[in-house]
Symmetry: C2
Subunit: 236 residues, 2 copies
């Protein structure tokens, strides 16, 4: 009997970060910090920093949630700017501000979450990221009224697809693996991760490739699936 529906956040319920345009915003709103450095040189440095962090992430040396601050330490280092925590924090917050201002719910997200809540299920969000960043996005998109629990990397200490974040949110939601379903857009993090934790998962993807048991192309496809679960439950 399913009691809780758990979603990934970025790319599943809300649009993904628009880092490219965000970098232009960071450059233009921090001209004092970047004196004598062109926009292209700045973006090159940030791309180099990102690539080196991605390499560390792929070899499991760092977590995804560490990117946020680290990328600025690396960027200012490459640019030979002072790496003071105030500068690092200012650039970090500047990009965050841009990203949050541009964050919107994806098509169907409000409709589906509203239906799920009305049907009496608990709703969880499990995100590889920082709690403060994610809660700000949830507030901005007004999705908070539908959400019972938010679990992020910084409060678990592990990223999806490790099964620990999944076990963690099940524990807070007080449900067993077979009492939850998971919906996410990342085959590796979400679908394989949920499988690691023995949670039934739906892959939300516009792609045609990828071998998965359950797939949805549109979030609203969840509505008849969940209605069907509820009907079976109450014998209607």
């Amino acid at each position: 009997m399913v009691k809780a529906i758990i979603f990934d956040l970025d790319g599943t319920l809300i649009n993904e970060d628009q880092i490219d345009r965000g970098l232009v915003y960071v450059y233009k709103t921090n001209t004092n910090t970047f004196k004598g450095i062109t926009q292209n040189k700045f973006i090159d440095a940030n791309t180099k920093a990102f690539d080196s962090l991605l390499k560390m992430y792929k070899s499991r040396k760092i977590l995804l949630s560490q990117f946020g601050i680290l990328i600025w330490y690396k960027t200012v280092k490459i640019l030979n700017l002072p790496e003071t925590p105030i500068v690092v924090n200012k650039l970090y917050r500047s990009l965050q501000k841009f990203i949050i201002s541009r964050t919107i719910p994806l098509d169907g997200a409000v409709e589906v979450l509203s239906f799920i809540k009305k049907s009496g299920y608990k709703v969880g969000i499990l995100s590889n990221g920082l709690f403060e960043e994610r809660i700000n996005k949830i507030k901005k998109t007004k999705l908070s009224k539908f959400i019972d629990v938010l679990v992020t990397t910084d409060i678990v200490g592990f990223d999806k697809p490790n099964k620990k974040p999944f076990k963690f949110i099940l524990d807070i939601l007080n449900v067993k693996p077979d009492e939850a379903i998971f919906i996410g857009n990342s085959l590796t993090e979400d679908i394989y991760g949920a499988k690691n934790a023995k949670i039934k998962a739906f892959w939300y993807s516009k792609l045609k490739e990828g071998e998965v048991d359950c797939r949805i192309y549109d979030l609203v496809e969840l509505i008849p699936i969940i209605r069907n679960m509820s009907n079976k439950l109450y014998g209607n």
Copy 2:
């Protein structure tokens, strides 16, 4: 040749968190959330939550930096309140606001940091905690102008006394272990941690107990020590 001086933050350069008084503040400024719950019942729940996290921390199941949000998930669970991320975040931010408003530099901190900067050394801060929390404390106490680098648990993924956070800050400061000295008030986290990373450490403690090579009872004792290092360096 020493090039960088690295400090712990809480209890070394600034006063430690005043959680007890902070909890009273959280209770009194969030009466709507705690409807029907007495202050004592709330504080009992928070203490229970803290004790259970401490047990997890001691058995290395969680990092110290995870306490901040987790304690509120556990507290509202014990009190049977809705564990929504908005409530959890509101209580977390409320305690943070109190703590930061009460944060002041410890005796001698400004004098010592100012002397170190004037003497041409780099200054690092290595703290078991979250970057955002720590940078806010550093801003509040106006210590930021003395500090070159801040490294926290969330950007390393490991707590002191693990040697990884120490290696991490040496790397950002671009110095070798024997080119740094470390000052901290925790024998376990700071002194044993620095020793793990082969960094010479001074234990800042008012206690008389504890077996350590180097100890200071007062931060200003660092001034002649550092002056002496500089004199040797320049052959004065």
